[in-house]
């Protein structure tokens, strides 16, 4: 696979350098650790710090979501690999304004170990209170009764949005965590993969798929999904994804949802909107109100082809977090 890069060993460093130089008003790199980035804006004393993080290769996830109304800092890992505890701890120290810090990340073994070690160090060495909310929105990755085993995919965006807003509202740490967990409990995603991505360092495709095939439930790192079959029309794929979600969570006539159609990297916006069109039809037919929609590349997997559909069921509190304005380098909501 063709890539514009200089040296595969330095892709993450060079991306961060470019990112920080491109948006100096928004983001700054901590001198203690190259992989530790925090907001360049003034943060209010007493506000709960919101820390996000994960592997690289998911841009705009996760560094693109540091800014007003979302995260205060991000720890950046290698491609598709959790950051180590060092940058997580440095960001924690930098964004703690006396009210503690919430860690938000996806449900992966590596992230749990590294963020867990950092949280322990923050408590022991720095006396900073840290709480965690883990995203587990991917319906395809484990059965309903084992939701705690599900991985976090595009729905992480809604968790960041909800927690970021709650922190901005002035909620205390326990309340921010409660909102983040509620957002996760009410969020479901289903994805489809059409073509693989390649890691810069190996150049090999992350999974194998035939020219005329698609894979339902494929993971954000190329983890195999639940079903491989011939590529179907956009409408039929949308039907499948939305139906799987609605079988997993009760969303009734009159309920409100936020919808995210998320491209995985190389799927054009045209195709994403064609899928959104059908998602809207299905929800309208069922009398489910779309409160707000997001269509685009929100959390990607390098140049992977495919997309996911995410629904977050809203109560008044979550709706308020969805309405909250955001100003980040890669995402603005007025």
């Amino acid at each position: 696979m063709k890539k514009l890069m200089n040296d595969p060993r330095y892709v993450v460093e060079e991306m961060i350098e470019g990112y920080v130089k491109a948006h100096p008003d928004y983001i700054r790199q901590l001198p203690e650790n190259d992989r530790a980035l925090v907001t360049a804006k003034e943060t209010r004393e007493g506000k709960v710090g919101v820390l996000i993080g994960g592997g690289s290769g998911h841009e705009p996830g996760f560094l693109g979501y540091v800014g007003q109304g979302m995260a205060d800092g991000v720890a950046v890992g290698n491609i598709f690999a959790s950051p180590s505890p060092d940058p997580i701890l440095e960001v924690t120290k930098a964004i703690d304004k006396g009210a503690g810090v919430v860690y938000l990340y996806g449900n992966y073994a590596g992230d749990i170990m590294n963020f867990g070690m950092a949280a322990e160090m923050a408590d022991l060495e720095e006396d900073i209170r840290v709480e965690t909310a883990i995203a587990s929105d991917d319906v395809a990755s484990a059965p309903k009764d084992e939701k705690e085993k599900r991985r976090g995919i595009a729905g992480e965006f809604f968790i960041y949005k909800a927690a970021g807003a709650a922190a901005d509202f002035g909620y205390d740490l326990d309340e921010v965590v409660r909102v983040a967990k509620k957002a996760n409990d009410n969020t479901r995603s289903m994805g489809v993969g059409l073509s693989p991505c390649a890691l810069p360092q190996t150049g090999e495709p992350s999974f194998e798929i035939g020219e005329g095939e698609m894979e339902i439930g494929l993971g954000h790192h190329g983890e195999p999904g639940i079903e491989k079959g011939p590529l179907e029309t956009a409408d039929r794929v949308a039907d499948r994804l939305v139906n799987d979600i609605l079988e997993d969570i009760t969303i009734s006539r009159g309920d409100r949802v936020a919808v995210l159609v998320n491209g995985l990297g190389s799927t054009p916006l045209m195709e994403q909107y064609i899928v959104f069109r059908r998602v809207e039809q299905i929800l309208s037919e069922k009398g489910i109100e779309i409160y707000r929609s997001y269509v685009g590349n929100y959390i990607t997997s390098l140049e992977m082809g495919g997309l996911s559909v995410t629904l977050m069921k809203l109560d008044d509190e979550l709706a308020k977090t969805i309405d909250h304005p955001v100003d980040c380098p890669m995402f603005v909501q007025k």
């Binding site: 890992g77 290698n78 690999a81 073994a109 992350s206 983890e223 195999p224």
Partner: protein
């Protein structure tokens, strides 16, 4: 047999070389179960360790320090899941030989048992979950038991490495229960676990190193 910090450096250097040779193989194994980067991750980590061995650690005489810095450096460089796992192994091992400029055979048993147990504890995995614990638990149990009864380190370590190998190979027929590959279900059967493989490479390299040293001594 007595080892010094220089032996730890030499052994770690041999791991660095070995990982470069096995990088593609480890990635290939990982592509069947995960995102295909285990070899790359190991290489990033051990290259960072190599840099420390050449600089900060080049004159270090404390064996435990060499192991601690190796573990911490590996962790900082890779994160991921193997970062905390191997780092915990090398740091728990170091705790058993704290401040020592020389380690004897009994120290080495303690070192490697703590290495294996530390990784198992960090990963919260059991034998049969298709992880590096399938290699490491038979390894440290065999080492502990054999050495307790025979007091023959070389023989005990050799049997422990055999047990590690059998454990690694057993992962081919196992269903993955931990980490990203656990989402594969039945499709994980038939592929050898890359973490179990790198764990075997690391412990078997120590045996090779000792054999090389003994041969030179003769």
């Amino acid at each position: 047999m007595v080892l010094t910090a220089q032996d730890f450096r030499n052994y770690f250097k041999q791991i660095v070389e070995m990982i470069e040779e096995e990088k593609d193989y480890l990635c290939e194994l990982d592509r069947k179960l995960g995102d295909g980067d285990h070899g790359v991750t190991m290489s990033i980590g051990w290259q960072a360790v190599n840099e420390k061995l050449d600089n900060e650690l080049s004159q270090e005489e404390d064996c435990s320090k060499v192991s601690i810095v190796a573990g911490k450096t590996f962790l900082s460089a890779v994160g991921s899941s193997v970062g905390p796992l191997y780092a915990t192994g090398f740091m728990r091992g170091a705790k058993e030989i704290k401040g020592q400029t020389e380690v004897n055979e009994e120290d080495l048993v303690n070192y490697w048992v703590a290495f294996g147990k530390g990784i198992k504890e960090r990963g919260q995995a059991e034998v049969g979950d298709k992880t590096m614990v399938d290699t490491l638990e038979p390894f440290f149990r065999t080492l502990e038991e054999e050495y307790a009864s025979s007091r023959d380190f070389s023989e005990s370590f050799s049997r422990a490495v055999d047990a590690a190998k059998a454990g690694m190979e057993s992962t081919k027929d196992l269903l993955s229960k931990r980490g990203r590959s656990s989402r594969l279900g039945d499709r994980s059967i038939g592929a050898q676990d890359p973490g179990a493989t790198s764990a075997y490479l690391i412990v078997s390299k120590f045996q090779e190193y000792l054999q090389g040293e003994l041969a030179q001594a003769k």
